[in-house]
C-alpha cells in the first residue's frame, strides 16, 4: 500500500506543478484528494491490530540504501495526524488565498510534496529511507518559507531554515552511518539496544533538535513565520517540527543505555521549554507567540522522551497528538484574523470575540486544550505528563520534572496573554476601537472549526485515543502497557498540581498582558544571519588572498609545488649510473646551449632574444647530431627556423623592450627557477639510479625491419608502431591552424555578428 500511495502522491505533485496558473484555487481540493486516501488508509491501520507488511524497493543494495517501509503503531498515529491536518490545511488554503494569487500551483505542489516527505519519513523502517525523506522535508520547507520571495525577510528566513536543518541533516547522516556501522543493520526495527557510541547519540540528537527547533537551533522557527499561514499551521506546528520528535522517539529505545543521549536530550528539552515559553511571553505578533509557544511545547516533548520512563514516553505521545491538533487550529485562527483584519499585532487587535464569534470559539477551545483545561484532549495529555513527573526521582530527573511544571505555568500564561490580547475589549478605550473585520471565508472557518472540534472529540473518545497512544508508546517502551488516559482522574495529587499550574498561569498571563511593553529582539535570527554573512565575508577574504588572478603567480606556485613533489627523489640519489658526458662535442654544445639560453633571458629586446633563441636551437640541433638522432636534428632545425621567423614576423611590430619588474618579484623568480632546476636534476639522477626494466632495443630494431619494412627505426616507430601518436599529433597541428585562423580574423561587433550568423542558420 505504501509503495502505491507514494507514487500517487508524487504524481499528484508533478501534476499540480505542471498545471500552471490555469486551475486557480482549485489546486487545493485536488491536492487534498490523495491525502484523503492516505487518511482513510491511516485510520484503518490505526484501528486494526494486525501488524502491517514490510514493503521494500531496492535502490543501491551495495550501500544498504534501499527504500524499506513498515507501518508501526507510532507511524499509523502520525499518518492520521499528518494526512488529517494536511486535508484541513488544504481546505484552509482554499479560503486563505484568492483566485488571482500567483504561483498557487507550485505552492500546492510543494505543500503536497512536503506531506509526502513527512509521510515517507514516518513510514520508513530503514535509516536511509528515513534520511532521504528527512532531507526532502528540509528542502520543501525552504521553498515554502520562501514562498513570498519578493520580500527580503522571507528569503533570509528561508535560507536560515535551510542552513540549520541541513546542518542537522549532515549530523544525522554522520550519526546514522556510525550507528548502522556498529549495529550492523540499517533497519530501525532491528536496531536493538546496546551501548552505542555517544558520538552517534549526540549527532542524532542534534539532528532532531535542529529539525524540532530546539534551543539554540530554534532561531529559524520564528523567522519561518514569514511563510503563508497554512504553511505555519502545517509545517511549523503540526508536522515538520515533529519530525525531530519522531526521530528522538524512534531512537530512544536504541540509545536507552547510552547515557549521553539522555543528558543531551534533557538539555535541549528543558532549555527550549523555558526559553521558548519566555519568548512567547515577550512577543506582540500573535503568530510569533504561537511560534515561540511551539518551541516550548517541543521542548516539553523532548524532555518527556529523554526521561525515558514508560509513563513519560506515554505522556509524550499523548501530548504529541494533542499539540498537533490544537496548535494547527490556533495558527489557522491567527491566519484568518490576519486576512480579515490586516494585522496580527495584539496591541492593535481588540474586541474580536464579538465580531468573529466562530473564530473566537475555535481559539478558545484550542487554547484551553493547550493550557490543559478539562474537558479537552490537552487536559488528559497534560495530566499524564504531570503524573509522570510526580513519579520521578534522582537529581537529574527532578530538575527535569520541576522544569516541566514551570514550563506548564508559562504555557498557561502565554495562552492567556494570547487570548486576552487578541479577543478582549480594552477597558479604557472606546468600543469603536474594535478592529474592523472583513467578511468570513468558509474555507478557513470550516477547517479551523474541524480541528478545534477535534480537541473536544478527542476527549469524548478518550478510551480509543488512549489505546492508540498506548500502542505507539509500547513500540518505544513496552512497559507503557499499563497506562491510559483518564477523562476524570479524581482528586489526585496530579490534578491538584495541574489546577495550581493553571491558576498561577492565568495570573502570570494577565500580568504579562498588562506589563510587557517591549518586544523581544530576534537576537538569534540576527546571529544566524551574521554568521552567514561572516562566512561569506571570510570566503571573500580567503579567496582574495588565494585567487590572485595573476598568471606569473600561478606559474610560480605550480613550479614550487612540482619542486616540492620531487623531494622523495633526494633520498634516492645514487651517482653510480651517472657519467660526466658522452663526448666532448656533447659537452661543448651543451655549454653553448646553456649560455645562449641565459642570453635569451638577459637581453632586453625581442629581436635579440629571437636571435639568441635561434642559437639555442642550433646548439640543441648539434646535441641531437652528437647523440645519434639525425631525424630529430633535421626536424629541430626546420622547426627552429620557422619559430624564429614567426616570432619576428608575429611580434616584430612591438618596438618597445620587455617591461621592467620589481626587484623582489625578480628575486622570487630567480629562486623558483633555481629550485626547479635543482629538482629536475635530482629527479633525473634518482630515477636512473636503479631501473627496474630495460627498453626492448633488439626487438624494436628487428621488428622495424621485418614487420615495419623500414630501416629508419625512428620513422617506423612514428608511422607504424606508434602511428596513433602521430595521428594525434597532426590533429593537434590541424586544430592549431584552425585556432590561428580564427584569432586572425577581424571580429565583427556582436550584434552584426549575430546577423551574420543568422544567415548561416540551418
Amino acid at each position: 500500500m505504501i509503495l502505491l500511495l507514494l507514487p500517487i502522491l508524487l504524481v499528484s505533485c508533478l501534476f499540480l506543478a505542471a498545471s500552471g496558473n490555469r486551475l486557480g484555487r482549485l489546486v487545493f481540493p485536488l491536492a487534498a484528494a490523495p491525502l484523503v486516501v492516505t487518511f482513510i488508509w491511516g485510520c484503518s491501520q490505526l484501528v486494526s491490530t494486525a501488524p502491517s507488511a514490510e514493503e521494500r524497493l531496492v535502490w543501491v543494495s551495495g550501500l544498504s540504501l534501499n527504500f524499506i517501509f513498515q507501518l508501526s503503531s507510532l507511524a499509523s498515529l502520525m499518518t492520521v495526524l499528518v494526512s488529517g491536518i494536511g486535508i484541513c490545511v488544504f481546505m484552509y488554503s482554499f479560503g486563505y488565498f484568492s483566485d488571482d494569487s500567483q504561483g498557487l500551483n507550485t505552492f500546492s505542489a510543494t505543500l503536497l510534496l512536503f506531506s509526502t516527505a513527512m509521510l515517507g519519513l514516518v513510514w520508513a523502517d530503514s535509516v536511509w529511507t528515513l534520511f532521504i525523506f528527512w532531507e526532502l522535508t528540509s528542502i520543501t520547507s525552504f521553498l515554502l518559507v520562501g514562498h513570498k520571495n519578493t520580500y527580503k525577510e522571507a528569503r533570509l528566513s528561508a535560507r536560515r531554515a535551510l542552513l540549520i536543518t541541513a546542518a542537522g541533516g549532515l549530523c544525522l547522516l554522520a550519526g546514522l552511518l556510525l550507528i548502522a556501522d556498529s549495529a550492523g543493520t540499517t533497519r530501525l526495527s532491528e536496531m536493538g539496544t546496546a551501548e552505542f557510541s555517544s558520538t552517534a547519540a549526540v549527532l542524532i540528537m542534534i539532528a532532531a533538535a535542529t529539525k524540532s527547533a530546539q534551543f539554540p537551533f530554534h532561531i529559524w522557527l520564528p523567522g519561518a513565520m514569514a511563510a503563508p499561514t497554512p504553511v505555519s499551521a502545517y509545517l511549523h506546528s503540526a508536522t515538520m517540527v515533529k519530525a525531530g520528535v519522531v526521530l528522538a522517539a524512534l531512537f530512544s529505545p536504541t540509545f536507552a543505555e547510552t547515557g549521553t543521549w539522555k543528558t543531551v536530550g534533557l538539555f535541549f528539552g528543558i532549555a527550549s521549554m523555558l526559553w521558548g515559553g519566555i519568548g512567547a511571553l515577550r512577543q506582540f505578533d500573535a503568530k510569533l507567540i504561537l511560534a515561540w509557544g511551539t518551541v516550548s511545547q517541543l521542548g516539553l516533548l523532548f524532555t518527556l522522551l529523554s526521561l525515558g520512563s514508560a509513563k513519560a514516553t506515554f505522556a509524550a505521545i499523548a501530548i504529541l497528538a494533542a499539540h498537533a491538533v490544537f496548535k494547527a487550529a490556533l495558527f489557522m485562527v491567527v491566519g484568518e484574523i490576519d486576512v480579515r483584519t490586516g494585522t496580527r499585532d495584539i496591541r492593535k487587535l481588540a474586541g474580536l470575540a464579538s465580531s468573529m464569534p466562530i473564530t473566537f470559539g475555535v481559539a478558545a477551545v484550542s487554547a484551553a486544550s493547550m493550557a490543559g483545561v478539562p474537558p479537552l484532549l490537552g487536559f488528559a495529555a497534560k495530566e499524564a505528563a504531570i503524573e509522570a513527573v510526580l513519579k520521578l526521582s534522582g537529581t537529574q530527573d527532578l530538575i527535569a520534572g520541576g522544569s516541566i511544571v514551570v514550563g506548564s505555568v508559562i504555557t498557561v500564561a502565554y495562552t492567556t496573554r494570547f487570548m486576552l490580547g487578541v479577543f478582549s475589549t480594552p477597558s479604557q478605550e472606546a468600543a469603536s476601537d474594535a478592529t474592523p473585520v472583513a467578511p468570513q471565508s468558509v474555507g478557513m472557518s470550516v477547517s479551523s472549526s474541524l480541528l478545534g472540534a477535534c480537541s473536544v472529540i478527542g476527549f469524548l473518545i478518550l478510551p480509543k485515543v488512549s489505546t492508540w497512544v498506548k500502542s505507539a508508546a509500547m513500540q518505544l517502551n513496552p512497559e507503557a502497557e499499563i497506562y491510559k488516559l483518564y477523562r476524570w482522574p479524581g482528586l489526585t495529587t496530579a490534578f491538584l498540581v495541574s489546577a495550581a499550574i493553571v491558576a498561577s498561569g492565568l495570573v502570570l498571563g494577565w500580568f504579562a498582558e498588562k506589563k510587557i511593553v517591549a518586544e523581544a529582539k530576534p537576537a538569534g535570527a540576527r546571529f544566524a544571519d551574521l554568521s552567514v554573512s561572516t562566512i561569506l565575508r571570510t570566503a571573500q577574504v580567503i579567496t582574495g588572498k588565494m585567487q590572485h588572478g595573476s598568471l606569473p603567480f600561478y606559474i610560480a606556485t605550480m613550479a614550487i609545488t612540482a619542486s616540492v613533489a620531487t623531494m622523495p627523489f633526494l633520498f634516492a640519489l645514487d651517482v653510480e649510473p651517472i657519467y660526466w658526458s658522452d663526448s666532448w662535442a656533447q659537452t661543448t654544445l651543451a655549454i653553448l646551449a646553456i649560455i645562449s639560453s641565459l642570453t635569451v633571458a638577459a637581453v632586453r629586446t625581442r629581436l635579440s632574444a629571437a636571435i639568441a633563441l635561434g642559437f639555442v636551437g642550433l646548439s640543441i640541433t648539434g646535441l641531437f647530431v652528437a647523440h645519434g638522432a639525425p631525424d630529430l636534428a633535421l626536424t629541430q632545425l626546420l622547426v627552429e627556423t620557422v619559430i624564429v621567423v614567426g616570432f619576428v614576423v608575429g611580434l616584430g611590430k612591438l618596438a618597445h623592450g620587455f617591461p621592467q619588474v620589481g626587484v623582489i618579484w625578480r628575486g622570487v623568480r630567480f629562486l623558483v627557477s633555481a629550485l626547479i632546476g635543482f629538482a629536475v636534476t635530482a629527479a633525473l639522477v634518482a630515477s636512473a639510479s636503479a631501473p627496474t626494466g630495460e627498453p626492448p632495443l633488439e626487438a624494436i630494431a628487428e621488428k622495424s625491419q621485418t614487420v615495419g619494412g623500414g630501416n629508419n627505426i625512428v620513422n617506423v616507430i612514428l608511422t607504424d608502431m606508434r602511428a596513433l601518436d602521430t595521428l594525434g599529433e597532426i590533429t593537434v597541428l590541424v586544430v592549431v591552424a584552425i585556432g590561428i585562423l580564427a584569432l586572425a580574423k577581424p571580429r565583427l561587433p556582436s550584434i552584426e555578428r549575430e546577423d551574420a550568423a543568422k544567415e548561416n542558420v540551418i
Binding site: L173, I555, T731
Partner: protein
Amino acid sequence: MSELLGILILGPFVSAALALGLRRYSIMRDALTVSSLLVVTVSSAFLFYFVNRDGTYVVTIGDWHPELGIVLVADLFAAMILFIALATILIVELYSLFQRASVWGANPFLVGPVLLVLTAGVTLAILTGDLFTLFVSFELILVSSYVLLTHQGRPPQIRSGMTYVVMNLFASTLFLLGLAFVYAATGTMNMALLAERIPELQDEVAWGIGLWFLVVFGTKAAIFPLFSWLPDSYPTAPTTITAVFAGLLTKIGVYCIIRFHTITEMNDLGPIILVAAGLTMMLGVVGALAQNDVKRILSFHIISQIGYMLMGLGLFSVAGVAGAILFLFHHMPTKTVLFLVGGLIESSSGTSSLDRISGLASRRPVIAALFAVPALSLAGLPPFSGFVAKLSLVDAGIQSVSVPIVVVALFVSILTLLSMAKIWLEVFWGDRKDIGEPYKQTSDLIGWRYKAMVLTTGVAVAGTLVIAASAGSLWEMSVRSASELMNSSYSSQVLK
C-alpha cells in the same frame, strides 16, 4: 570488439577531418558532427555493455606487442567513464546547435570539428594503455580547449585564454619531464608494464614519480594548490564550451590520477592525497561563496567536487576508490547540465551576474526546475545521484577511520548548499526583473531555438535522474572497477 574500439578511437578523427572539409556546408557539417557523436556514444554504450558482461578488452594497435606498440585497454572503469563522457559531449553539441544564433553561442564553423577532436582526445585518454599516448591525447584535448576558449577573440577571452594556455603548456612540460623520469626508471611507457615495474622501484623513487604525476594530472584536474587557473578561464568561454570543459576536462585529470595511482600502487601517498583533497574541496567551496556570477560560482564548485573524488582515491580502499568512480560518473553529466542551465539563465536574462538577475522563477519556472535538480544533486541531497556518491565516500571514510576528511567533506557539503542557495535566492527569487533592452536583441528567446535548448537541457536532467535511479548497478560496477584497479589485475589482463 576490435571494430568497436576502432570506431571509438578513429571515428572522431575521421569525422573531424570531414567536418573540417565541409565547414561551409552547414547542414552537412552539423549532420555529420551530430551523427558521428551519436555513433561513438552508441558504440561506447555497446562497449560498456560488453565489457561489463565479458570483462576487460585489450586491443594491440597494428598487432604490435604491448612492449613495442600502443595498446588500448577497455576495462570496466574506462568503459563506464567513456560512455558518460561521450553522452555528455553529445548533449552539449545538440544544445550548441540550437544556441548558435546568439552572441552567447560559439562559432559554428569551428565548434563542430574542434569538438570532435576534443572527443577524440577524451576517448584516447580514457582508453589508452600507454603513458605517452596519454600525453598526446592530453594535448589533443588541450589544444581543442585552447581554440574553443579563445576563438571568439574577445578581450576577456584572450586574457583568460593566456592564463589557461600558459598554465597548461607548463603542465604539459612537466608531463614530458615526468615521462623522462619514468622512462629512465623503468624503460617503458606501457602502463601495464609500469604497473609491474614502478612498485618494484626503490620506495623514494616510486613516491617521487607518484607525486610528480599527481602534480601533472592535478593541474588538469585543478586540485590544491594548482586550481587557480580554472575559475579565471572557464567562465569567459561561450556557455556550451564551458559546459564541456566543466564536465570533461578536469574529470579526465581525475580519471588519470585514479588510473595511474591505483595501478602503480601509490598507497603510501594516501595521506598526502587526502590533505590535498580536503584543501581542494574546502577552498573550492570558499571560492564559490565569494563569487557574484553564476558561471564563476559553478566553476569554483568544480574544484570543490574534485576534492571529493580525490578523497575517495586518498583512502586507497576499494570502497573509497569505488566512491570516487561513482562520484566521477555522476559528476560529469550533472555538472555539465548545470552549466547548460547557466546558459539558459544567461540567454533569458542577458547576463549571468547575480547582481543583475532576480525573480527568474516566476518568469521562467521551467529553468528554475531544471536548475534545482542538478544543483541539489551536486549539493549531495537525496534522492539524487550526488547523494549516493557522497554517501559512498563518507561511508568509505568512516570505514577507513579517516575522521578529519569525513568532517571536512560534510562541512563542505553544507557550504555547497549555501552557495547553491545563494544562486537560488538571488537569481530565482526576489523582485521580478525583466530582461534589459540591450540584451533583448541578443538573447536567445527566439521561438523554437529557446524551446529546443530547454528541451535538450530537460533531456539531460532526465538523464541525471536515470543515473540516480540506476545507482544500484552503477555502484556495483564501481566496486568491481575499483577492485580491478586495486588488486593489480590490470597488468595481468593487458600482458596475458
